[in-house]
Structure formats: structure tokens, C-alpha cells
């Protein structure tokens, strides 16, 4: 059963079309990864789904209901279904970790004493110690901030969790920790999860994968079988190949006809031998 459906979504910023007709059905209670190059509009898709952005045309259907038709009160109910883990964690700087994680409950009128046990439970889910509750976001490491952001999302027990590049900027070990965390939560709580990521390791944890390229979904299928995929877009993207249907920086064509991608070119060009030729 599909819980989220994107129907011919188009989104334009000024004169630039970011989404050029995205059609995508997200199955319920599964983890779906959206991958694609930088600037392809992956985060924009998440913001369109949650309603932070409005599509230029097309429909976002949640449980079959077009969110563009919702009233303000209905939209509030809509937000209650969602949890959103921001790329930067988006913790409120002026609040402690306790206040950040429990902000929704505190705003609903619950006392700090009532909120504490719920927060402890969520902290355990994201492997954080109670001592960090008194700290401010500026005192936390990048990985801890992401985990606090995740705990804040879990407080409301959302049906749908949207992860916007949850491991960007983290070292490989912390990346693995965050991925394991997302996976274990997926197994335990069974939410519908939608993960935007650049990291191919996400294929080991996701159930489905969608490849976004040139403003459209080029591939949607099983994440486990992705490495065997013959799809030329997938083949090129997951192996990071410069040649293929996905257009990359043209780089330099050597006399032999071989294309050199920029990073390799610069590495070569700045050796002592080649410096005079530049």
C-alpha cells in the first residue's frame, strides 16, 4: 500500500525548474532511499511532501488526500503524521537538548517532570546519555546533534519519517552508527521512512531506492538488488562513473581520446613535470 504519492510534481525557483514531472509512490512501513546528484532537487521533494514548499504544479497525496486542499487546522494534523530530520539537525540554539527534544510536548502544556521519562526513552533509542540533556546544541558534536534531531522527531511517534541527508558531513564510523540507528528504529517502530542521501551505503539499509536525475525519477526498485541493476543511470551513479547517461563536468579530453575528470586532471596537472605546461 502506498502512503505517499507524488503525481507529476513540477517545481520552479525563479527561472530554474528543479522538478520536471516527478511521479513516485512510496510504500508504507518501508524505508525508501532517494538518491541523485547535488542540486537535483532531492531535499526539495522532501519539503514538498511535508508542505514546507508548494509545487508549481502537480499533486502531493498523503493517504490519498491532496495536501494542497487542506485547511490550516487539517494541515496541523498533517504535520503530526510526520517527523523531519534536517540535514543540519536544525536544533534551536537558544534551547537546551532537553528543551529541543521535548519542545512539542512542552508546547502542548506538559510539565518538565511529565516530559522527562518520554525523553529518556527516546534518548535510549538514539544511544544518547542523559547527561547531554542539559547541554546546548553548540556543545554537541555533529553526530550527537543528528541524534538529538532524530530523538526530537521520534517524540511525537510519527507515522512517516523524512530524513534529509542524515549522514552528510559525518565521519565513516558515525555514518555507520546513524545508519544502524535508522535501521534498528525501522525494524522496531515500522514507520514509513524516506531518506535522501548521497551515500551508497544506504542501499544496505533501505528497502527501495529511487534515482532522481534531471528533475525526474529515472529508476525505482528494490535496494538490495541495486548493484546488479542494468539500468544505465543506476549503473553510472552508484559506481561514480564519469561516462554514461548522467551528464557530468566534461573535464579534459586527452589526445588519446580518454576523458579525464577534473579532480584527476588537477592532481596530474600540478605535478612538477606538468606545471610548466599550464
Amino acid at each position: 500500500m502506498n502512503i505517499i504519492s507524488l503525481v507529476n510534481i513540477k517545481k520552479r525557483f525563479d527561472k530554474r525548474w528543479v522538478s520536471k514531472g516527478v511521479n513516485l509512490d512510496i510504500p508504507a512501513h518501508q524505508m525508501t532511499a532517494i538518491v541523485g546528484g547535488s542540486g537535483e532537487g532531492k531535499s526539495v521533494l522532501l519539503k514538498l511532501i511535508i508542505g514546507l514548499l508548494k509545487p508549481t504544479s502537480g499533486q502531493v497525496l498523503i493517504d490519498g488526500v491532496d495536501i494542497a486542499t487542506l485547511t490550516e487546522a487539517e494541515l496541523d494534523e498533517h504535520y503530526k503524521k510526520f517527523g523531519y530530520v534536517f540535514q543540519s539537525a536544525a536544533l534551536l540554539d537558544s534551547l537546551t537538548v532537553f528543551e529541543n527534544i521535548g519542545i512539542t510536548l512542552l508546547e502542548q502544556g506538559m510539565s518538565r517532570r511529565q516530559v522527562l521519562p518520554i525523553l529518556k526513552e527516546k534518548l535510549a533509542l538514539v544511544n544518547l546519555k542523559e547527561e547531554c540533556l542539559k547541554k546546548y546544541p553548540a556543545e554537541l558534536s555533529g553526530g550527537m546533534r543528528k541524534r538529538v534531531g532524530l530523538a526530537r522527531t521520534l517524540v511525537t511517534n510519527p507515522e512517516i519519517i523524512l530524513y534529509d541527508e542524515p549522514t552528510t558531513g559525518l565521519d565513516p564510523i558515525t555514518t555507520r552508527v546513524i545508519h544502524n540507528l535508522m535501521h534498528s528504529m525501522q525494524q522496531r517502530l515500522k514507520p514509513t521512512a524516506l531518506v535522501v542521501s548521497h551515500d551508497v551505503e544506504i542501499f544496505n539499509y533501505a528497502d527501495n531506492v529511487a534515482l532522481l536525475q534531471d528533475g525526474k525519477i529515472r529508476f525505482f526498485g528494490n535496494a538490495k538488488a541495486i548493484w546488479q541493476s542494468e539500468n544505465p543511470y543506476i549503473y553510472q551513479f552508484i559506481r561514480g562513473l564519469p561516462d554514461g547517461p548522467i551528464e557530468t563536468d566534461p573535464g579534459i579530453i586527452e589526445p588519446s581520446g580518454t576523458r579525464v575528470i577534473p579532480s584527476r586532471f588537477w592532481k596530474r596537472s600540478f605535478t612538477k613535470k606538468n606545471r610548466t605546461e599550464l
Binding site: 514546507l52 534536517f86 543540519s88 536544525a90 536544533l91 534551536l92 519542545i103 512539542t104 508546547e107 526530537r152
Partner: protein, 264 residues
């Protein structure tokens, strides 16, 4: 034909600027309307209101003290130079008090708070906008207007009249110090002149102006911060625009209010 080619880009630029102005005014009006609606419909956060009263009001006190005191002193000195020529130095007290209560107190308080607290509000909200903290509030079912904007606007509207009152008092005291202790005038003349000519309406007029200025400063600052974009540079631009727009608005609206409140 040549004239058309020259005029077309000019007309286009003018039209574009006019449309932009209409859009900005419309957005700002909607922002104010939504803020007022949220302030009425939803219960304001008392803790946040107190924190903002502290940030806007208490923390601006030292600036207001210095501004009020020295404005009163300079005003008295300048008045003394003028009145000495026509032989009316016994009226300096009333001139200083009237000027400070009706005009200089609220206006200078407004300009000082726009520079100190208004810029801080824009920078803080702008930073929250570009780091997605405001988006995070929306996704957590928390109305950012109620959580961030309403406490600031209420605090500004309440704090400014209090600060203006202090500014008026310090201005009159500064004038007294200058006249009595430096220029050697009679303290009785200074005080009796104030008693004779200054009425409660003059003070009320100043307080009304300060209320309006407080509302303008905080709504402009919040609006600019709330809609900031373009990274750190964008926040810097928004902060500058906020201070300039608040300051100019204070001066323009002061002119209108002086006319309207002239009867008080």
C-alpha cells in the same frame, strides 16, 4: 523609434520596481495581520515575553540613560544660547521638558532601540531561517509566529513606552544639571517653568508615540528576519534593511503622529 528603445527599459524597470514594492507592502501587511491574529487567538508565551522584555527593554536601559541625559543637557545648552539673546532664560525648563517629552524622548528611544534591539531580532530570526530552525518549528506543529514573533512584538510595544518615560526623565534631569550646575541658572526658575507649561497630555503624547514606534521596530525587524534568505550575506542585508526601514518609518510616522496627537 530610438526614443521607444530608450524608454522601454526605463518603463520596464519602473514597472518591475512598482510590482516589487506592491508585493513587499502586501507581504508585510499580511505578516502584521497574521501576527495580530495569532496574538489574539493564541495564548502568548509568558516566559518568552518576559525574556524579550528583558532583551528589548532592560538591556537597552543604559543606552537610553546616556541618550536621554546628554540630549537634555545639549538641548538646554542650545536653548540657553538662544534665550540669552532675547532674555528668556527662565523658560528653558519648559522648552527642554516639552521638547523631550513630546518629541526627542520617544523618537531617540525609538532610534536607539531600532539600532540595538531591532538589529538583534532580525539577525537572530534571519539566522534561524537560514539554518532551517524556523522550518523545524513548522514540522513540529509549532506556529513560528506565535513562538518567535508575537513575544517580540508585544515586548517591544510594552517596553518602548517605559524606556521613553525614562528617556524623558533623564532628559529633564540632564537639562536641570546643565542649567543649574553649569550655566548657573536658578533651580526654581527651571522647575516652576516646567510646572507652568508642561501638561499630562504632553507626556501621554510621547508615550503613545513610543508604543507605535515599539510596534513598528519589532514588526519590521521580525519581518525582515523571518523572510531572510541568501546565507550570512542575506542576513547581513536583512539586518541593515531592518534598521534603516525602522529608523525612516519612525521619523515619517512621528511626523504624522505629531499632527494627529497635536491636540493632546
Amino acid at each position: 523609434m530610438v526614443l521607444n528603445e530608450l524608454l522601454a527599459p526605463l518603463a520596464f524597470s519602473f514597472g518591475y520596481a512598482a510590482l516589487n514594492l506592491c508585493r513587499t507592502v502586501g507581504c508585510f501587511s499580511l505578516f502584521i495581520a497574521q501576527t495580530i491574529r495569532v496574538a489574539i487567538v493564541q495564548r502568548p508565551h509568558v516566559n518568552k515575553l518576559l525574556a524579550q522584555l528583558n532583551a528589548i527593554g532592560v538591556n537597552s536601559f543604559s543606552v537610553i540613560f546616556l541618550t536621554g541625559l546628554f540630549t537634555g543637557m545639549v538641548f538646554a545648552l542650545q536653548s540657553y544660547i538662544g534665550f540669552q539673546r532675547v532674555g528668556g532664560t527662565q523658560y528653558i525648563g519648559s522648552v527642554v521638558a516639552l521638547g523631550v517629552t513630546r518629541e526627542l524622548g520617544p523618537v531617540l528611544t525609538g532610534l536607539m532601540v531600532a539600532g540595538r534591539a531591532g538589529s538583534a531580532i532580525t539577525a537572530e530570526l534571519g539566522f534561524m531561517r537560514i539554518t532551517e530552525q524556523i522550518d523545524a518549528l513548522v514540522t513540529l506543529c509549532i506556529n513560528p509566529l506565535q513562538y518567535l514573533v508575537v513575544p517580540r512584538v508585544i515586548a517591544g510595544t510594552l517596553a518602548l513606552p517605559c524606556l521613553a518615560l525614562f528617556s524623558m526623565a533623564f532628559g529633564v534631569m540632564g537639562g536641570y544639571f546643565m542649567c543649574v550646575h553649569i550655566l548657573g541658572l536658578s533651580p526654581e526658575d527651571y522647575v516652576s517653568s516646567i510646572r507652568s507649561f508642561v501638561q499630562l497630555g504632553d507626556i501621554l503624547s510621547g508615550i503613545c508615540k513610543a508604543c507605535v514606534f515599539g510596534f513598528i521596530i519589532t514588526t519590521v525587524a521580525s519581518y525582515k528576519g523571518y523572510h531572510a534568505h541568501g546565507g550570512a550575506r542575506g542576513v547581513g542585508i536583512a539586518t541593515t534593511q531592518s534598521v534603516v526601514l525602522s529608523s525612516v518609518s519612525i521619523l515619517v510616522i512621528d511626523c504624522l503622529l505629531t499632527r494627529v496627537l497635536g491636540g493632546l
